[in-house]
């Protein structure tokens, strides 16, 4: 439990370079046609059929059963949760009656009981509704948190926190695009919650800088900022780890719905923890050093 003394901000250009590369890769992954985001049926309408305990039914048998049931363009994937095999099948059917009927036919064809199937059908208009509400929730929640930071701290913190937040969102979505993971309403919910939570990591460093800057002598703002990071580092690492442990367990041991949440939560936690040190704090410190008071200190002590 020794104190840290790592020169994070002295190496801020390396961290900016890392973030820059991650951002470029993420934006490329989001825009390139061969990657891009895969949206779940909730956003565009369609049917998803989950099957668990499918035993030794093969993907070919499944595909044949869907073809025989008259379902076109079924996208079939296998799943494995704690060693229990299953399938997720996505189709373009938007009529629940028809979807349930085809699931029954398939169950009969592959000789699995009906009660291990989950059939979700989303109508085409509803998807737009869900998307709009999810985006509204994301926007409102970010706005509420930023308002809170502006009121409690200062606008320069608020703006650098927004930059870090946009950085986090882009990289998280970029990772989704690279992994080909499906974006569902659960993803959005997890993302907006965890980003709010991670933002607090940033606020904690800001809070400490604010305190330490009150008797700032014989030191540049950047050096003080670096000390502040080091002071709260143990706490940041430990809270990130203690939040990450249950979420990772959920990612590895949970079923499909839980994995949905867990993936976004774990990526968001890691990216958020990194950006408070690698993005928000250096940007804020650089901005502060342009203020005359701190510029003078910088001249005097920066190379001490």
């Amino acid at each position: 439990m020794s104190r840290f003394n790592i020169d994070f901000l002295g190496h801020r250009n390396i961290m900016f370079a890392i973030s820059g590369v991650l951002l470029v890769v993420s934006i490329a992954a989001l825009l390139l046609p061969s990657f891009g985001l895969h949206f779940g049926i909730e956003f565009q309408g369609g049917t998803s059929i989950s099957v668990v305990n499918s035993g030794d039914v093969s993907i070919e048998q499944m595909r044949a059963a869907f073809a025989a049931a008259g379902v076109q363009n079924a996208n079939i994937q296998t799943t494995d949760t704690q060693g229990v095999k299953g399938f997720i099948i996505r189709t373009e059917v938007t009529n629940p009656d028809e979807a349930a009927a085809s699931a029954q036919k398939v169950a009969a064809a592959v000789k699995l009981p009906n009660d291990t199937f989950l059939v979700t059908t989303i109508g085409p208009g509803w998807g737009k509704n869900i998307t709009n509400r999810a985006l509204l929730a994301l926007g409102l929640s970010i706005a509420a948190i930023l308002l809170y930071i502006s009121v409690r701290f200062e606008y320069k913190m608020s703006i650098t926190a927004v930059v870090a937040l946009v950085h986090d969102i882009l990289i998280t979505l970029g990772i989704y695009a690279l992994l080909g993971a499906e974006v569902t309403p659960n993803t959005i919910a997890a993302l907006l919650t965890i980003l709010g939570y991670s933002l607090y990591d940033t606020v904690v460093v800001f809070h400490r800088m604010k305190e330490n800057s009150q008797h700032l002598v014989k030191q540049s703002f950047m050096q003080m900022a670096n000390e502040s990071i080091n002071e709260v580092l143990m706490r940041s690492i430990n809270t990130t780890v203690s939040s990450l442990i249950p979420v990772l367990v959920m990612l590895f041991f949970g079923g499909e719905t839980l994995k949905d949440f867990a993936l976004a939560l774990s990526i968001g936690l890691l990216v958020g923890a990194y950006s408070s040190i690698g993005v928000a704090t250096p940007l804020y410190a650089m901005w502060k050093e342009s203020e005359p008071k701190y510029a003078a200190l910088k001249k005097k002590y920066a190379n001490a």
Binding site: P96, V119, R133, A137, T193, Y197, K210, G255, L265
Partner: protein
Amino acid sequence: MDQKQQNILLLAIALVLMVASWAILWPPQKQITQGLDIQGGLSVILTAQETTTSPVTASVMDRAELIVRNRVDRLGVREASIQRQGNDSLLVQIPGIKNAQEALAVLGSTGQLEFVDVQSITDTATVAALAAADKNVKLKPGTYEPFMTGEVVRNAAVQQNPTTGEIEVTLTMNSAGTKTWADYTAANIGKQVAIVLDGTVQSAPVVQSAIPDGQTAISGSFTAETAKQLKTVLETGSLPVSLEFSESRVVGPTLGQDSLRQGVLAVAIGLALVALYVLIFYRGLGLLTVGSLIIFASFFLGILALLSRAGFFALTLPGIAGIVLTIGLAADSSILILERFIEEVRMGKTIRSAANSGSRHGMYTSIDADIVTFVSAAVLYFVAIGPVRGFALTLMIGIVCDIVMMVLFKRPALVLLGESAIGKAPAFWGVPKERAAVTGSKPQKGGVAGV
């Protein structure tokens, strides 16, 4: 009451709450209501489709809800629930239903109301059945032709006939309907007319007289209940909008229980690993954290059981994800308090005063962090639609429980331990030795910072 007694009282309240929680909670699989995605069943959202001429108003939704309730009743299922979703949708949940396909067919039926001349029915068996019982007879498609459809119905009501005292169902019609109805009734006095909803006869009264003005009264041996049912049927025809499926989930019960088992296992492993981590890292203070995690989890589940009992809560899979995240948050708040405490000791405060002020500052920071997450969860709960609301709900409840337990347990326990227990064996508790000489002197560089 001095501070020590106050802290002991707070701890006592925390312990009583924990015991009470277990009393309410046991056995958990019975006491915590399971959502539809866990117990299996059918969940659909029906949305009224607005047209330029017929906006979806509150009264249209009232009628739509009645109609859907009527359809659910026709399925003969118990425990079905119908709730409004937003301004234009209804969420229908039917747990444990066997034949989802039939239910979907009935729920999604168009609500086609027709008036049929019984004499025109070509199937003689049906006609005979209608002579015997005037309702719940199914008509075979193609054996009948309606002379009028339900669109003509303007409204329907139940009333008591002022002269006979009998309960009757009255209906009024639009001008086109009034004309057709006048012609039909004038020509068919003494004949049976069938009122048919989605192919099933709901009532088959005998025409008593010609009705020139559309003002019709249907009498018979109605009870208040059966009259109301017929009224709803007639209103179906007058619903100006159609109801369409927005979302449907058919959950096999085995699948739901499997997911629950995986979820509970994930929660248990998560708790165990977090406990292990804090024990290794914080030694004796980690023990305190494990204790507060146990008390927090008991209280949280107890509250969920209590809310279940009151009918306000059902555990869904997204809800389990919320619980998992909350475990992390609860561990966080403990860590914030401990780190602050250790830092203040390191800065030269006595263990006793560091426990007191460190736990207070750490608690405020945790509450700040909790509020930020709570705001996100609340926005999600009130703005988003669909199952993610279950995630937001458990998260919100969990955060409130965490704050309660910080005040009742985490802080008082640390302050009490800080009085003497920790000072006697700082190595066991994982706390740096006091720097006695510095006590009470000028603050160290960096001062007592905010976190």
